[in-house]
Amino acid sequence: MNLSNDDIQDILRLLDSSPYAEFTLETSRFSLQLRRSAEGDWTQETQVLSRPVAPDPAPVRTDPAPGAAPAGQPAPPGETGAPAPGGPGADLRDIVSPLPGTFYRAPQPGAPPFAEVGGDVERGTVVAIIETMKLMNPVYAGTAGTVAQICLDDGQFAEQGTVLMRVRPRDG
C-alpha cells in the first residue's frame, strides 16, 4: 500500500488553504514530508517504511531457459588476491576497474579477447570492457608493457577498483 499521486494532490489541496509551509505524516507504513518553497511550489519526500513481506527462499530452480546466459562461477577468492609485496609481482602495474560492473575480455561473445597474457599493450590499448547499467565502458591499459596476469574470468562481476589485470611495464 502506497500513497498515490492523487492522494498527495488531495493533501496539497487541503494545505494550500492553510498557512503551513511544511507537513509531515508518519505511520508505521510510510512517511511523507511536504514542503512549500518561497515561490509557493511544493516538494515531496516519501519513504515506504513497510518491510518486504516474507521474501521466500528461492523456489526450486529449473534449468535456465535457452537464451539465458549460463551462471558464471565465481573464481576462488585467492585467485584474485594481490601478490605478496616484494614478490615476483612487485614490479607489475595494476589495471583496475573504473566502475562496478561485469568484466568482459572480448568485444562480444565468441570474439577474440582484447588482451592475452604475454601480449603487448600500449597506454591507450583497450584491454577489457566493464558493463555497468547496460553501458559498455572500455578499460585502458594505462601502462605500456606486457600483460602479465588476468585476474578475473570473463563475465565475472568487478567492484570499482578491483584489479582486473597486471601489466609488466616496458623498460625505458
Binding site: W42, P52, P55, T62, N137
Partner: protein, 450 residues
C-alpha cells in the same frame, strides 16, 4: 478474472504495475533478484519472492526461475513490465505451458514484432510506408542497395530494436566494415545475424502511436513524440506530438491501426514511425509489443490507466473503449531522470536523499527513496517526472519549475542536463528532431570550454 499477479520486474515500472494491481483489487507478488529484496517495490508488494542472484541472466532474464516463482507463489499471471523478458516469446510459451496468463500479446505476435524484417514486410503489406531499403546478405549486396536508395544509410539488426544494433554508414568506404561488424554483433547479441539497410533521414522526428487491441478490434490512444534521444535512447517524451499537421497526424494514426489490425493484435503495443516533417512524410520503424517507459504521457492526456487496460486485455476481455471515447486534453511531457554523470557515464551507488516536486499537473513515477541501492547491474533509470499543462507552453513552464525542485543525493544524475534541455528555446519551440539533444550537448560542451 485474475486474482494474483507476479510482477517480474524492478524499479519504477514494478511500482507502477503494483499500483495498478492495487487499484484493481488484484494481489501482487513481486519477483525480485537478491539485489532488490529490500527495494521500494519489494516494500510495496503484497509479497516478495526471490528470483535468484543479481545478474539479470540468473534472475530477471531466467524464464525457468520466473515461471517457477509464479507457481510457488500461487499466481495466475505474470506481468513482465518492459525490457528483460517482456517481449520474449519463450516466456509467453512457458506461461501457456504452465497454465499462467502472460500479460502481453500471444507468442506469435511477439515473434513477429521482434523480427524487425518480418515486421517491415507486414507493414508494407498493410499499406504502410516503409523506408527505402531491405535485407542484405553480403557486403556487395549492401553496396548496390545503398547506391540505389542513396546515402547515408542505417544498418539495422533484424533481431535488434529499441535502438540496439544500429550503425550508420555515410559512404561506400564505411559500409562494408560497418555491415560486417553489424552482422557479427547481431549474431552475438540476438542470435540472428540478419541485417538490413534503410535510408537515413536527416532532421527526422520519432513519433509513435499507442495501440490497444483485443484480438478482434484495434484502437489507438493517440501519439507521442520521442525525438529527444541520446545514443538512440529516449530521454524526454511528450504527448501529443507537437507541430504535426492534422492530416499527417491522422494518417499516422490510421497506419498504426492498420498494422495492428493486420496482426489481429491483442494487448498493448506501440508502433514507431520516423516522420520527415519537411516532406510531410512518415515511415514505419518497428512495433514494441509491451508497455512503454513513456506510457504516462498518454495516460495523462487521455485520462487512461494503460496498465489496467493491459491486464483486462490479457484476461481476454473485449476493449472497454470505442475509438471516439479516446480524446486528448492538454499536453504532457516526461523526463527520464537517470543515475549518470555529466559525461553520460553510469553512476551506481546509494541514494541518500530523494526530493521530488508535488502539485497539480505533476506526476512522479519512481522506484527509489532515501537509502535505496542503485545497483550497477541494471539500467540507470531512477524516476520519471511527468508534467501536464493546458497546452505545451504551460507544460514546458511547469517542467522547468518541477525539475528545479528535484533533489537527488548520493549518486550523480542527469538533472542538470534535463534542466538545460527544458530551458532551451529550441526545445520550447517544439518539433525538435532526433539529433537535437546531441547538438545541444555539444554546444554546452563547447561553451564550457570557453
Amino acid at each position: 478474472m485474475l486474482r494474483r499477479i507476479l510482477v517480474a520486474n524492478r524499479g519504477e515500472i514494478a511500482v507502477r504495475i503494483l499500483a495498478a494491481c492495487q487499484r484493481l483489487g488484484i494481489e501482487a507478488v513481486l519477483a525480485a533478484s537478491e539485489a532488490d529484496l529490500d527495494s521500494v517495490p519489494a516494500r510495496l508488494a503484497d509479497r516478495t519472492i526471490c528470483l535468484g542472484p543479481p545478474p539479470p541472466a540468473e534472475s530477471y532474464l531466467n524464464i525457468g526461475a520466473v515461471v517457477a516463482a509464479a507457481a510457488a507463489a500461487g499466481c495466475d499471471a505474470i506481468h513482465p513490465g518492459y525490457g528483460f523478458l517482456s517481449e520474449n516469446p519463450g516466456l509467453a510459451r512457458a506461461c501457456a505451458a504452465a497454465g499462467l496468463v502472460f500479460i502481453g500479446p500471444p507468442a506469435a505476435q511477439l515473434e513477429l514484432a521482434g523480427d524487425k524484417l518480418a515486421a517491415r514486410e507486414q507493414a508494407a503489406a498493410a499499406g504502410l510506408p516503409v523506408l527505402p531499403g531491405g535485407e542484405v546478405a553480403s557486403a556487395a549486396q549492401a553496396q548496390s542497395l545503398a547506391d540505389g536508395i542513396g546515402w547515408p544509410v542505417l544498418i539495422k539488426a533484424a533481431g535488434g530494436g529499441g535502438g540496439r544494433g544500429l550503425r550508420p554508414a555515410g559512404s561506400p568506404a564505411e559500409l562494408a566494415p560497418a555491415a560486417g561488424q553489424a552482422a557479427a554483433e547481431a549474431r552475438a547479441a540476438f542470435g540472428d545475424p540478419r541485417i538490413y539497410l534503410e535510408r537515413f533521414v536527416p532532421g527526422a522526428r520519432h513519433v509513435e502511436v499507442q495501440l490497444l487491441g483485443d484480438g478482434k478490434r484495434v484502437i489507438h490512444a493517440r501519439d507521442r513524440d520521442c525525438s529527444i534521444q541520446r545514443r538512440y535512447q529516449k530521454v524526454a517524451e511528450e504527448a501529443p506530438a507537437p507541430l504535426l499537421a492534422g492530416p499527417l497526424r491522422a494518417a499516422i494514426h490510421d497506419a498504426a491501426v492498420a498494422f495492428g489490425s493486420r496482426l489481429g493484435y491483442r494487448g498493448l503495443g506501440t508502433v514507431e514511425f520516423l516522420v520527415d516533417p519537411g516532406r510531410g512524410a512518415f515511415y514505419f520503424l518497428e512495433m514494441n509489443a509491451r508497455i512503454q517507459v513513456e506510457h504516462p504521457v498518454t495516460e495523462q492526456v487521455c485520462g487512461l490507466d494503460l496498465v489496467a487496460e493491459q491486464i483486462a486485455l490479457a484476461e481476454g476481455r473485449p476493449l472497454s473503449l470505442a475509438q471516439e471515447e479516446i480524446t486528448v486534453t492538454g499536453h504532457a511531457i516526461e523526463c527520464r531522470i537517470c543515475a549518470e554523470d555529466a559525461h553520460g557515464r553510469p553512476a551506481p551507488g546509494t541514494i541518500t536523499r530523494a526530493v521530488f516536486p508535488a502539485g497539480p499537473g505533476i506526476r512522479v513515477d519512481t522506484g527509489i527513496q532515501a537509502r535505496s541501492a542503485v545497483p550497477p547491474l541494471y539500467d540507470s533509470l531512477l524516476a520519471k517526472l511527468i508534467v501536464t499543462g493546458d497546452d505545451r507552453a504551460a507544460a514546458v513552464t511547469r517542467l522547468r519549475r518541477a525539475l528545479a525542485a528535484c533533489e537527488i543525493d548520493g549518486v550523480a544524475t542527469n538533472l542538470p542536463q534535463l534542466a538545460r534541455l527544458a530551458g532551451d528555446p529550441g526545445f520550447a519551440a517544439g518539433g525538435a528532431d532526433t539529433g537535437f539533444l546531441a547538438r545541444l550537448t555539444r554546444e554546452a560542451a563547447v561553451a564550457a570550454r570557453g
